[in-house]
């Protein structure tokens, strides 16, 4: 029967793969049946969270990131072991050119659930599968099995979960140490153990907290929070990182190279930039920069993340540590907007609030 199915499928695949009869664009606007709707027909994201057949919350669906987790907001001086702190700084000095996922196309690893990628959750009573747009997946077993004792280290680790009062609690061990925990380059070892808590607050919102416990790298367990929003009537798109990946030869230079291009900007000029600049990126996701002058320095926070120092390269232009450039735009003698230039990012953000 098995082979019959396979042979039949294969032949049909070969024979019918090129037949006509397909219509419409992608499945990005395919109506999801059975979801709660508002009077205007739009999905009601504030409706109660759905339940699975076993009575537990049903986490199924495509989820986009709403509020990204930020490690820099959580980790304090002394939380990171000296070797890990040095390695993180080295990775930042190298401008992230060794980033395993975004540069070398390897799986996200332990930060999958809290990273800024789209996810699809497929839930059964005994198994939850999390699909990522990069075509990798992760399995969470709910069948009562224990964690493996001495597992072969892997990118996604080995996950078991259970329900606690409507919250899915997932423990994972067995990670390899080839992944970074964030784009800043925070490392981990094979000793890492993560505990994630997934709570669907309502139909459209998923809250995720993830605790990282890796005593070889960090002096205490620490926890990040992220929220995701449901994308009903949509689906994942393929993102094949290795397809036409030509970045690597161009990733040259050091973060400290920017110091040579730095110029001095008068504190009174820097003071005119203070405030909040906000708007939306192509695709509609919000983006927000807050600017903080501090004496002869200018600092920024992006999307509520930790403050970082800007390097001035002209009176109105500044470099961020991660690469994107910021330019303050003047209209009628006042700073009116912030232009953000970066890879895949070229957006003008109106000034929505001056300094308090």
């Amino acid at each position: 029967m098995t082979m019959g199915f396979k042979r039949g499928s294969l032949i049909v695949l070969c024979g019918l793969a090129l037949i006509a009869g397909c219509a419409s664009g992608q499945w990005l606007n395919y109506p999801t049946p059975g979801i709660p709707r508002l009077p205007d027909g739009k999905p009601n994201l504030a409706a109660p969270a759905p339940k699975a057949a076993d009575g537990q919350p049903d986490l199924s669906g495509v989820w986009t990131i709403n509020t990204a987790a930020n490690l820099a907001n959580v980790l304090k001086p002394g939380d990171v072991q000296p070797w890990a702190e040095a390695l993180t700084k080295q990775r930042q000095e190298n401008l992230g050119k060794d980033n395993p996922s975004s540069v070398h196309c390897l799986p996200f690893g332990p930060s999958l659930a809290s990273a800024t990628n789209f996810l699809k959750i497929v839930q059964t009573q005994r198994l939850i599968v999390i699909l990522s747009e990069d075509l990798t997946y992760r399995q969470i077993f709910l069948d009562g099995r224990g964690l493996p004792i001495d597992p072969n280290p892997s990118f996604m680790g080995y996950s078991v979960g259970h329900w606690e009062e409507g919250t899915l609690v997932v423990t994972t061990t067995g990670y390899n140490e080839r992944t970074w925990l964030d784009n800043a380059g925070h490392p981990h070892t094979e000793s890492l153990r993560t505990i994630e808590r997934f709570h669907r607050n309502d139909f459209g919102h998923l809250e995720i907290t993830e605790t990282f416990d890796d005593p070889k790298t960090y002096t205490r367990p620490w926890t990040i929070k992220a929220t995701r929003e449901l994308m009903p009537e949509s689906d994942l798109l393929e993102y094949v990182c290795n397809e036409n990946n030509k970045d690597i030869p161009h990733l040259v230079g050091k973060a400290s190279d920017a110091n040579g291009a730095a110029v001095e900007v008068a504190p009174e000029t820097l003071a005119t930039y203070a405030g909040v600049y906000a708007g939306t990126r192509p695709g509609g996701r919000p983006i927000r920069f807050e600017i903080f002058p501090s004496g002869r320095e200018l600092w920024f926070s992006r999307d509520g993340a930790a403050r970082q120092r800007l390097t001035p390269i002209a009176n109105t232009k500044f470099l961020t540590p991660a690469g994107p450039q910021l330019e303050f735009l003047e209209e009628s003698g006042k700073i009116a907007a912030l232009q953000v230039y970066g890879v895949g990012l070229d957006v003008r953000l109106p000034r929505v609030r001056e300094a308090k």
């Binding site: 082979m3 294969l10 397909c22 499945w27 799986p107 198994l127 699909l131 075509l135 077993f141 597992p151």
Partner: protein, 201 residues
């Protein structure tokens, strides 16, 4: 560097066989609810399982049938090396396609997309030596593949195929009696990027 490594891996796969994994995973975890023979072994000849809606349940781990002895510990379908292995008169290639196939043979498949860590597409997914896991829920079947820890999705026939060309295609299924037909389209087939077998004999 990466490509060198993966060419090495690919050759190892073809000519040396796949290396067995350590035994401390969940490789021998008993699957609850499966039919057993009197001796306690899993009864692969038992009737097909059904889902709650009465449809055949494909869920589970699946490996290729062991026709050629496999590659060390993993069985390999004959279509892995030749997609037309079970077509009596061979694959009815167009001349350009036969020429391309021959050129790929002559080059020892060095341009195989798998060599470059690209997905091998939905057709080769079924013939590749790596194990597959099917997760079936109403309205969706997910095929998990050990290769690159990747997956493919199959949706019910109530939707239409999209036009976008992708490595894995986008698949829909249609039930005809007891059988399931998988219609995949559009794929990045042929000269674009996808191969439908490993082009090794």
């Amino acid at each position: 560097m990466r490509n060198v490594l993966h060419r090495g891996c690919l050759r190892a796969t073809y000519f040396l066989g796949l290396i067995g994994c350590a035994s401390a995973q969940w490789l021998n975890y008993p699957t609850p609810g499966v039919p057993k023979t009197p001796s306690g072994l899993v009864n692969l000849g038992a009737p097909t399982l059904r889902t709650a809606d009465g449809k055949p349940d494909f869920s589970g781990m699946w490996e290729a049938e062991n026709i050629n002895g496999g590659q060390n510990d993993l069985p390999v379908a004959p279509q892995f090396g030749n997609i037309g292995a079970r077509i009596e008169s061979g694959v009815p290639y167009q001349p350009w396609a036969a020429e391309l196939r021959d050129a790929r043979f002559a080059e020892h498949s060095k341009d195989d997309p798998s060599t470059y860590c690209l997905p091998h597409g939905v057709v080769r997914t079924w013939t590749y030596a790596t194990l597959k896991k099917i997760v079936q829920v109403p309205g969706l079947i997910v095929l998990l593949d050990e290769h690159n820890a990747s997956y493919g999705k199959y949706s019910p026939m109530t939707v239409h195929c999209p036009k976008t060309r992708t490595q894995h295609g986008t698949a829909i299924r249609r039930r005809r009696g007891r059988a399931t037909l998988l219609l995949s389209k559009p794929l990045a087939f042929g000269m674009d990027s996808g191969w439908i077998n490993a082009a090794v004999q």
